[in-house]
Symmetry: C2
Subunit: 418 residues, 2 copies
């Protein structure tokens, strides 16, 4: 065997890390799906299983794989496609009907966590700048996890889900502004002109897509139907998805906001084509890289000091409670149950919180320990929300299933009467 | 705008080359599909359009994108999925029925191009070691292009296609041995023990998968049906595809041989599940990165010297003719038309020829000029084969379509008679 390994190493030397890349892809996919299967059997959310698979095989524990540029890109494309398929199920009309409520949910869900995070670190005795960075990291909701759970429960078409999705879009824009502001403060001066420009670009892009995007897309339908390439609707859909993800990223908001808006603009296309089915297949292939990727970020090494563990647990607790309270209060007029559903839907911080922490680390205003704390908070909130969401949406789901049954029944009655 | 670019650059600095990666993905996908559409309208093969899109946007001409580790990995996963979906349409039985003919096709298709390439460079006045490297680069067929064309023509289930696929698998193993041998010669000594081990491992792996793979997979069917995760057949299929690609690459053959064998082992699963449909969607998303990736490799800068242009054209001509003759003679007992189809199917060298050239470059036995010549030959052969394949298979395709019509007709007659 030694001889073979020699040859293999020689070829490996020539071919680059070709075999290693394939082994990484295989290990991540296999671990994610084995873990999802175990969690499904335990009647727990598969999404939590896949994130925990990342913790298990990542640098913290087994060190079978580590985050690389490649795994990060696959993760990014995976969550881009997830939000794209979610967008395909939501009509722009549904979204701007809940606009003002969603705006309130987003604003309160940004202000309360921000100041709570800042306060926590101040009471902990850390400098102001670290405090506002923890606050900023607590602001941004990572809607991917919630969207995945809502889609798997088949409740994307409820008013609650629509408020969550709309609030997540607004939340991302607000998060961008908070991040720009605290980054400028860390560098010593805030450029209000830059801030205003950044704000108007991201808001303009979003409003344009919500109000005009679908109309433009629907007008292109005859052209798409005349295309000679195979799978024209799917190909056009993917192109728009990639294009708007890039554009969103270019104007400063998250790429997933672009793909979500692309999906929404195409929602009428997806009703009678296989666009949704095919995009779903691509998403199923890539999403494990996103979920495992979140788990891989966790670094358990900083938690040797019990004080750090306490801070991480406190930060997580505050991250959960402040979103529940902030978004919940804003949604309270819709009833206590819906308020809880919306609040819990906004809890996961995921990759967005981690990006903020990376910026703080890069600017030298955040210690390695605090970085570890933020990553723990980000990963923990993505693990906490799904089981609660499933419980909170159980009744809604049953009601929807019952309604559908009744529709089917009345259809049957009709066809018998005919 | 300047102010905004400033902010955007600052954020870009933090977030890495995130936006740049998305723009690369978007540009590649858009260029590939626009070009495919133009080629379809000109009644030319879409696959040629996508490769030429790569030449156009790549380093040779517009320099909009350049090959990176990321684009190469996406390309690799794309062609892995292509061969996987092709495998899903071919039963192992069909493959070993044509085994001995395919063996002859592969052997003659390796020997003749190898010696012709060597002879060409010797007559050109180059050293022996460069000659045998050009020979080695002329050996390996890149079956991806042919498979894509055959699948788009719906002729994968003909004996001709099966011989091509089987011969490509054997060709790859022979190519590995030739490459190991010439690499050892370049380094000064051939280790026959290593060679024998490498040969037995790759042959053993292939035979095991062809003869036993499908049987094992079919036995797992009740287990797969009992899985709780969604899309179980698709997920299990992707896992096997990634696993065997890794394993193939580990034992030294091309990863696509592994994914092809995985697909074949799953061919019975794909008959009554959506495995083929869903894998096809993932492949459609990733394949443009493979095709554009081939075109991007082309470096036109070395062709300032007319002598180099002549050598490149000669190498391409010889690459085409020797495969046509080598594989054609072996297939001649099946008739002249089938012999031509099989010969032309083995013409594309694509990424495999380029890998051999890269190894030669890495070992310092191949000049930059000769590297450019090999890449030209590899890209040119992938562009030449598809139009000829379409013409050569036109009749076969019409016959198949007619047969199917007759079956449908007789079905109709039967149902009317009932």
């Amino acid at each position: 065997m030694n001889v073979f390994l020699n040859l293999s190493t020689n070829l490996l030397f020539f071919l680059g890390d070709h075999t290693e890349i394939l082994s990484t892809l295989f290990i991540i996919f296999l671990a994610a799906k084995l873990s999802a299967e175990v969690f499904e059997r335990l009647k727990q959310p598969a999404v939590v299983g896949e994130i925990l698979a990342g913790v298990l095989i990542g640098p913290s524990l087994l060190v079978l794989v580590k985050p690389t540029d490649l795994t990060k890109t696959l993760a990014e494309v995976g969550v881009i496609l997830l939000l794209f398929t979610v967008g395909l199920e939501i009509k722009p009309k549904a979204l701007f009907q809940v606009g003002s409520r969603a705006l309130l949910v987003a604003v309160l869900g940004v202000i309360i966590p921000f100041f709570a995070g800042w306060l926590l670190l101040t009471l902990w005795g850390e400098p102001t700048i670290e405090g506002i960075f923890l606050g900023a990291a607590m602001v941004a909701t990572s809607v991917g996890i919630t969207a995945r759970v809502l889609a798997s429960l088949n409740v994307l078409n409820t008013q609650t889900s629509q408020i969550i999705m709309a609030a997540a879009v607004i939340d991302d824009i607000l998060g961008l502004l908070v991040l720009s502001m605290v980054s400028s403060m860390a560098k010593g001066s805030v450029n209000y002109k830059e801030l205003a420009l950044s704000a108007s670009l991201s808001i303009g892009f979003t409003l344009f897509m919500v109000f005009v995007g679908a109309k433009i897309v629907n007008k292109t339908r005859p052209t798409v139907e005349k295309l000679k390439i195979g799978n024209a609707f799917f190909i056009v859909g993917l192109t728009l998805c990639l294009g708007l993800s890039f554009l969103a990223s270019y104007v400063g908001v998250a790429a997933i906001i672009g793909s979500f808006l692309a999906g929404m603009a195409l929602s009428e296309f997806s009703e009678d084509t296989d666009l949704h089915h095919k995009s779903g297949a691509v998403m199923e292939f890539l999403l494990p890289f996103f979920l495992v990727g979140i788990g891989m970020q966790l670094e358990l090494a900083v938690f040797k000091d019990p004080r750090v563990i306490i801070l991480a647990l406190l930060a997580t607790l505050i991250a959960v409670i402040t979103k529940l309270i902030g978004c919940g209060i804003a949604a309270l007029p819709l009833g206590r149950k819906q308020a809880l559903q919306i609040g819990m839907g906004m809890v996961p911080r995921g990759e967005v919180g981690i990006i903020v922490a990376q910026i703080g680390l890069g600017l030298g205003v955040m210690s390695n320990t605090l970085y570890g704390v933020v990553v723990f908070m980000a990963v923990a909130t993505t693990l906490i929300a799904p089981p609660f969401l499933i419980v909170l949406f159980k009744e809604t789901r049953n009601e929807l299933a019952k309604e559908e049954e009744e529709i089917v029944d009345s259809d049957k009655t009709l066809s018998v009467m005919e």
